[in-house]
Amino acid sequence: MPTSTITASGSTSFIIKKKELGVSTFSSTSFNIIPKKRCSKKVVSVMTPTQSQRPPSTTGSVKTALTMTEKILARASERSALVPGENVWVNVDVLMTHDVCGPGTIGIFKKEFGENAKVWDREKIVIIPDHYIFTSDERANRNVDILRDFCGEQDIKYFYDIKDLGDFRANPDYKGVCHVALAQEGHCRPGEVLLGTDSHTCNAGAFGQFASGIGNTDAGFVMGAGKLLLKVPPTLRFVMDGEMPSYLLAKDLILQIIGEISVAGATYKSMEFVGSTVESLSKLSYIFAYMSTTVFHAKMEERMTLCNMVVEAGGKNGVVPADSNDYISTLRFLSEYRFDVSKLEPLVAKPHSPDNRALARECKDVKIDRVYIGSCTGGKTEDFFAVAKLFQASGKKVKVPTFIVPATQKVWMDIYSIPVPGSGGKTCSQIFEEAGCDTPASPSCGACLGGPRDTYARMNEPQASHIMSMNCLFSVCVSTTNRNFPGRMGHKEGQIYLASPYTAAASALTGFVTDPREFLQ
C-alpha cells in the first residue's frame, strides 16, 4: 500500500489539473482516504494506475472534463473516458447489505453461484443489520441469524452483529443505521464505487464517491462477481451559493431542490451539489474542532443529508465533489440549477410526497400529534445538536410526544456525552429530558419505514387520540426522515410532514407545524 497521510480536518483532496481540461483527466490523480476510526492513524493514499500514453489520434476529442460521477465510473470501469448513456462494467469497491435485503441477496448468490461458492472479496462486503432489530417479530430476528450464519461461513470481515436485543450496548459490534455506520466506520472513500441494497445508499455521495442503491438480484451478482453493469447517468448540477442562514439546514436545501424538480426530476441522473454554501456545510464542525472523535463526521453530516434524499427525486446517485475550486465546463451537465441560499426559508414536504413542498410558516395551522427525530436522514449527531440548540434557545417543553432515535451507537454516545455549546455544559440527552422528550431509543432505522407492528414510535393508529378539530382527523407527524408516501411510517392514513431538525424541534414545542425562526432569531 502506498504511504499514508492524514489530513487533520478530515477533508479530502482530489486533485484535478485545471490546465488539462483538454486531455485525459487521469494522468495523475490521488485520493486521500479519510481515516477509518479516530484512534486509527492508518490512512491509505491510493494512486490510480498510470495511464499509458494516449495515441495522438485520440487526444483532442475530449473537449471538456468529465463530471465527478463520470470520472469515478471511468476509473472503476478502467476506461479513460466515457459518456452518459453508455453501459459499462464497473468494479465495485464496497457492497453493503442489511437485515431486510441481505437474506434475499444471499439466497440469490447461492442459487446463481452455487451453494458452496465464495464471495468475491470477504473484505469488500459490509453487512449491517439495522432495519428490524428491536422487535419480537420472529422472522425479523431470524433474518439477522441468516446474516450471521453467512458471515461465519464466508468469514466476512465487516459484520456489525447484534445478539442481545434487550440492551444494544451489550453488543460491541452493533452499529445501527447502515448509511451512517458506513460513514463512521470509514467505508466511504472518495472516488470509490459503493453499492448497497438500500435506496439511501446514495447518502455516501457526500464523500465524493459513486454510491447507489440496487436490488437483491444485482447485489447477489456483485457478491459473486465483484462487478455490475451500470449505465452512466448524465449529471444535473445544483449550485448553491450565499451565506447559509442560521435557521436553515441541509434538509431545507434538499427539500427545496426536490420541490423544484419533482420526485421524478432526476430519474436516471446524477445530482451534483456544488457552490460556496455546500463547501461551507457543517459549520458546527468548528465547534467540534477539539473533539477528534467527531471532526470527521461532523463536517460531512450535512452533506450526507443532502445526498441522502437524492433518491427522493429519482436520482441514481448524488455527489458532493471534494473541496476544490476547479472549474468543470458547464457543457458537460444536462442542466444546472442555481440557488441563492440566503433567500430560502424553512420548508416542509407535506403529505404524501417528498416533492409536496411548502413553507413551514404557511403550515402553522396544522395541528400535529407527534414528532420523530431519527433515521439516516435526520438522526445523526449534528441533527440532534440542532434540535438541542433550538430547545435550549426556547427553554420550553414539548407539547407532543417527541421520539428521539439516534442512528447509531456512536450517535447515541455523542448525545449522552458531548456538551452542547451555550448550554452551560449540558448534553443533548439532558436537554431532551428537560424538554420532555421521550428517552432516546435504541439505534436503528426505527419507525422511519414503519416496520413490524411493535416498532418503537410506529404510527399505528389512524387517528390522533385527541381530535379537537377538523385539522386533526388523522395522526399527524413531523419527521426528520426521508419519505412520506401513504403508510410510510405505519398506518396508511397517517400524515407525515418531512422537515429539518430545527423545524421538527420547533413543531414539537408548539404542537403545530412551526417555522424554527419562532425560536432561533
Binding site: 435506496s199 440496487i214 433518491v311 408516501f485
Partner: protein
C-alpha cells in the same frame, strides 16, 4: 376460484439447488455479453417450468380470468384483466415495509409476499387487488401513470407483483430502481405506454398485450394502444 389458474411466473425463484439450470447459465454468461444479453436474461423464465414441487401447468398462461384458455396465450402475448393505478405508486404501497421480513428467495415466503401485493394502497382505491382470503390476484396486468415504483430499492416490489400473478406492468414512466429490478428478476415485464393509459382504462377491463407488435388491446372498450418497444426499455436503465 381465480387462484387455481394462476401460474408460476419465475421458476428460477422457486428452485434452490439446481446450478445447472438454464437460468444459472444465462446469469453467468451475462458477464461476457453486451447489453443485448439482458433481453435474453429477461426471457429466461419462458422456458417450461422444471420444478417438480409445482403442479404441472403452462407457465406462460396469463393468470386468472376464468375465460382464459391456456392455448390462447403464447410466449409473446398476455391476456387477462387489468388493474389501474395512478402516478407515483411507491414501493411501500406495492408491498408495505412490515412484510419485508419475508425473504423472496424462500418459496413459501415468496408466495406470502405475493399475497400482500398492493395492500398498501390508500382507501381511494375501492377495488381490492387481491380478494380477501385469496393469495393471488385475478388481475394479471397493471396499468399505471408516471414514476411507477418510486421510493425504495427493494426488490420485494416487483417480486410481490410477480408472485401475485402479475405478468406485465404498463405505465407511462418508471422509477429507475423498480425498472431495473423488474428486468433483473424477470418477475414482471416492465412496459411503457405511449400516453396515459391510466386515464382511459378501468380496473377489470379485459386486455391482451401483444409484445411482438408492441400493442395493447382493451377488449372492453375496443381501443388499441401502442407500447414502446421493450428492447429499448431494457437498455434504458
Amino acid at each position: 376460484m381465480a387462484a387455481t389458474s394462476a401460474s408460476v411466473f419465475n421458476p428460477a425463484l422457486t428452485s434452490n439447488k439446481h446450478p445447472e439450470e438454464p437460468s444459472h447459465v444465462a446469469f453467468i454468461s451475462n458477464l461476457r455479453m453486451s447489453t443485448s444479453c439482458l433481453t435474453k436474461f429477461q426471457l429466461k423464465h419462458l422456458s417450461p417450468s422444471s420444478i417438480p414441487s409445482q403442479s404441472p401447468r403452462n407457465p406462460i398462461c396469463a393468470a386468472a380470468s376464468p375465460t382464459c384458455s391456456p392455448s390462447a396465450t403464447t410466449a409473446t402475448t398476455f391476456h387477462g384483466l387489468y388493474y389501474v393505478l395512478g402516478d407515483n405508486i411507491d414501493i411501500d404501497q406495492i408491498i408495505p415495509a412490515e412484510h419485508l421480513t419475508l425473504v423472496p428467495s424462500k418459496p413459501d415466503e415468496y408466495r406470502k409476499l405475493g399475497s400482500h401485493a398492493l395492500i398498501g394502497l390508500p382507501s381511494t382505491y375501492e377495488t381490492r387487488f387481491i380478494e380477501t382470503g385469496e393469495v393471488q390476484s385475478k388481475y394479471s396486468i397493471i396499468i399505471g401513470g408516471e414514476n411507477f415504483g418510486c421510493g425504495s430499492s427493494r426488490e420485494h416490489g416487483p417480486v410481490a407483483l410477480g408472485a401475485a400473478g402479475v405478468k406485465a406492468v404498463v405505465v407511462e414512466s418508471y422509477a429507475r430502481i423498480f425498472f431495473r429490478n423488474s428486468v433483473a428478476t424477470g418477475e414482471v415485464y416492465p412496459l411503457e405506454s405511449e400516453g396515459r393509459l391510466c386515464d382511459e382504462c378501468s380496473t377489470g377491463d379485459v386486455v391482451t398485450v401483444e409484445l411482438a407488435e408492441n400493442l395493447l388491446i382493451n377488449h372492453t372498450t375496443g381501443k388499441e394502444y401502442k407500447l414502446k418497444p421493450i428492447g429499448d426499455a431494457v437498455v434504458y436503465y
